[in-house]
């Protein structure tokens, strides 16, 4: 009898072990070559990354060296590619990945030994954002939504506003802001018009998309803006905000960190913001609106655009052992570790409310708890998830080689539109012309 029980138990253990994610992965994470794997990224939570890399090096005998790039990340990384000095693994936004892929500098993830398992775990709608020419370009670092509307709940109460007053569309939002401004409410809105690649330009791309328009055709990349369409409507709304003094003129000289600090000062009633920053804004260590930063929910019209960060692997001639080391760390860091846990993704979620692109991470209790603990009202978890679910991205602008150049142009053009009171039609024409010019330069269509 005892023998039967023992055999049954062993069979059960074997069965569980065989089908547990850790064993399914079948990746040997141990480093083999002794060569240094170079890993580079932008400056965000470097202590967390260093700690995770150290953990890998200690447990897997790895030799991974991590460092960061300060300044214009995309531009500097591209210089590294051109100079033949690119790292083995790097961060990238979707449009960076597309450009690097077209440059022949990175590999899609199909070549990884556990590619099938990774692909099966990716959230399909999110993975589509970084699937280009039929290839999945990298492993998910984070997904977030940039350009959602956050609210200062204390100031809302002061202004006599309740959740019932939350606008459903951008037009409703601007009507509310102008009404408040006319009533003498100070600092009603902080737009994300800061001077970064993902500042004013992304705000425009997001609003056009939220209003149901496209800046460039998702397939042909031909310009699609019209002065009487969502692009024109967005610019007219912005011009009115600017000319009537509703927004501070200094926002154009902000960097992203300045924007975050401005919101966390508690001065503003509404702001266009990054979803993941809600956690920070609700943290008393950083913010004067801690516990009082709410957000405008989805009520038929999406807010913002999907922002996706990726881990990318570079295409290089490496000896088999070194290639194994690079892929092993890539998979360990970007997917699951030796215990079958998406350790890094979970940590980003818990510490920073950076959503993951993996179903296994987002469907777990960790995700719910991370979101719940980040919000002013823990009952808003479903509303936050709904915001994410309805966010999309400007494929016509992000899935094309010229994207970084266009974003640089867009930033300057939109700032100039506001500063020099340029006509809407002229600005729409300038944006369309630039897209057409870039298509010509890169031989698209």
């Amino acid at each position: 009898m005892m023998r039967k029980v023992a055999l049954l138990s062993l069979a059960c253990i074997l069965l569980i072990a065989t089908f547990s994610p850790g064993v399914l992965a079948a990746v040997d994470f141990e480093a083999r070559s002794g060569q240094t794997v170079r890993f580079q990224g932008w400056q965000f939570a470097t202590d967390v990354v260093l700690d995770t890399v150290r953990r890998y090096n200690e447990t897997m005998g790895g030799n991974v060296e991590y460092n960061t790039i300060a300044g214009d990340y995309s531009a500097i990384m591209e210089q590294k590619f051109i100079a033949g000095d690119a790292p083995d693994i790097l961060y990238g936004h979707v449009y960076d990945a597309v450009r690097y892929f077209d440059g022949g500098w990175i590999e899609a993830i199909d070549s990884l030994p556990n590619a099938d398992e990774i692909l099966a775990d990716l959230i399909p709608s999110v993975a589509e954002a970084w699937t280009y020419k039929g290839k999945v370009l990298g492993l998910p670092y984070f997904t977030s939504v940039i350009g959602i509307l956050v609210t200062n709940l204390d100031r809302m109460e002061e202004c006599g506003l309740t959740e019932a007053d939350y606008p459903k569309t951008w037009d409703e939002f601007y009507e509310l802001i102008h009404a408040l401004h006319e009533q003498g409410v100070e600092n009603p809105y902080l737009p994300a018009w800061y001077s970064e690649q993902w500042g004013i330009g992304w705000s425009f791309l997001a609003e056009v998309l939220n209003r149901g328009g496209v800046t460039a055709d998702p397939e042909t990349h031909e310009p699609r803006l019209t002065a009487d369409g969502p692009g024109g409507d967005t610019l007219r709304a912005w011009k009115r905000l600017w000319n009537e003094g509703v927004v501070d003129k200094e926002v154009l000289s902000y960097r992203e960190t300045d924007h975050i600090e401005a919101w966390e000062s508690g001065r503003y009633l509404f702001a266009s913001h990054m979803a993941y920053n809600i956690r920070r804004s609700n943290d008393p260590k950083f913010s004067q609106v801690a516990g009082r930063t709410g957000f405008v929910p989805y009520q038929g019209q999406p807010w913002g655009i999907l922002d996706v960060g990726l881990y990318l692997i570079t295409k290089k001639d490496r000896d088999p052992d070194f290639q194994h080391d690079v892929e092993a760390f890539f998979s360990w860091y970007g997917f699951k570790n030796e215990e079958g846990r998406a350790y890094v993704a979970e940590r980003w979620l818990q510490d920073f409310m950076l959503f993951s692109g993996y179903q296994s991470v987002m469907s777990g209790e960790i995700a719910l708890e991370a979101i719940r603990s980040s919000l002013a009202n823990p009952d808003d978890v479903d509303k936050m998830i709904e915001l994410y679910e309805n966010a999309s991205y400007p494929k016509g602008v992000f899935h094309v080689t010229w994207s970084p150049e266009f974003q640089s142009f867009l930033r300057e053009e939109l700032q100039s539109f506001l500063l020099n009171d340029k006509p809407v039609e002229q600005t729409i024409e300038a944006i369309n012309s630039e897209i057409a010019r870039l298509n010509k330069v890169y031989g698209i269509n």
């Binding site: 214009d72 500097i76 077209d102 501070d248 200094e250 000289s253 640089s408 300057e412």
Partner: protein, 297 residues
């Protein structure tokens, strides 16, 4: 045998032999990159699918001349340089004259006044961004403390060049000041005693005693400040990023944008030669108008 050969070298040959290593070094360090940049400027360069050069002759140079962005950048660069020059020289001179006075704790004051020079342009950019921008500006604080309650934003479109100039002058002035101070301290003190006997005013003393001793240093530093301002980049990049819009976009910022954001390296290289030309013309003008007179005197 060797000694005999050495003796056969003329003075000129020996001099050439001595400077040969540095000539080779300079050739490698200056001529090669300059030549490569010149070659780039005559091409359209593409990096996709391998580096490709398409020879376009002077097209990049012509295109630049017809670009409104270039002419805007030239105007901004001139405005920034002239204002930086005037402000830096004025502050530097004032510092030197003050530090030459028999002050108590002069050494400590000297150490403190040289500090801005020791701060990197990057840090200066961040410092002045906070000091001069809207809600965090010291002028806004002053305005609220005086009950005016107005936000003063010097990084706006109309005043951003002056705001950038302030930081640049703050960074460069101590260097000018210390060289002028060194110069002033070499002036024989007897001359000041004689000036006192002659009952010269402060201004007259400066004009007839101090100025003749420092005028050549002033000329040299006018050149240095001009060149440093014409090619200032990191500080502008950090403080304003060429903005708002393109309000503080100097030629150096345009070069950066074209070369490293748009990866239009041929165009960027051609732009850098226009900048080189501008530096050459400006310093030549300074020499013709001012320097020749100094050398003659």
């Amino acid at each position: 045998m060797f000694r005999q050969r050495m003796r056969e070298l003329s003075n000129y040959q020996f001099a050439v032999l001595l400077v040969l290593p540095i000539l080779v070094f300079l050739l490698a360090l200056v001529v090669y990159p300059l030549g490569y940049a010149a070659w780039l400027s005559l091409n359209q360069v593409s990096f996709f699918g391998g580096i490709k050069f398409t020879f376009t002759g002077l097209d990049n140079y012509k295109e630049i001349l017809s670009s409104p962005n270039f002419w805007h950048a030239v105007k901004v660069t001139f405005r920034f340089t002239v204002e930086s020059l005037v402000l830096t020289m004025a502050i530097g001179l004032a510092m030197a004259l003050t530090l030459a006075l028999p002050l108590k704790r002069r050494k400590i004051i000297q150490t403190l006044t040289i500090m801005p020079w020791a701060i990197s342009p990057y840090a200066t950019g961040i410092l002045f961004k906070y000091l001069l921008r809207g809600k965090s500006s010291f002028l806004t604080a002053l305005s609220y403390s005086l009950g005016i309650n107005k936000t003063v934003d010097l990084l706006g479109q109309k005043t951003v060049v002056e705001a950038v100039t302030l930081g640049n002058a703050w960074n460069l002035a101590p260097l000018v000041g210390f060289f002028l101070l060194a110069n002033i301290l070499t002036i024989p003190s007897g001359l000041y005693r004689l000036a006192k006997l002659d009952q010269l005013t402060v201004l007259e003393r400066f004009k007839h005693v101090t100025f003749p001793y420092i005028r050549y240093t002033l000329f040299v530093f006018a050149n240095i400040v001009t060149v440093l301002s014409l090619k200032a980049f990191d500080y502008i990049y950090v403080q304003t990023g060429g903005g708002p819009g393109n309000a503080s976009s100097t030629i150096t910022y345009e070069i950066y944008k074209q070369s490293f954001i748009n990866f239009n390296l041929g165009y960027g290289a051609a732009l850098s030669f226009y900048l080189l030309m501008l530096i050459f013309l400006t310093t030549t003008l300074l020499y013709v108008v001012w320097g020749r007179r100094e050398l003659r005197s």
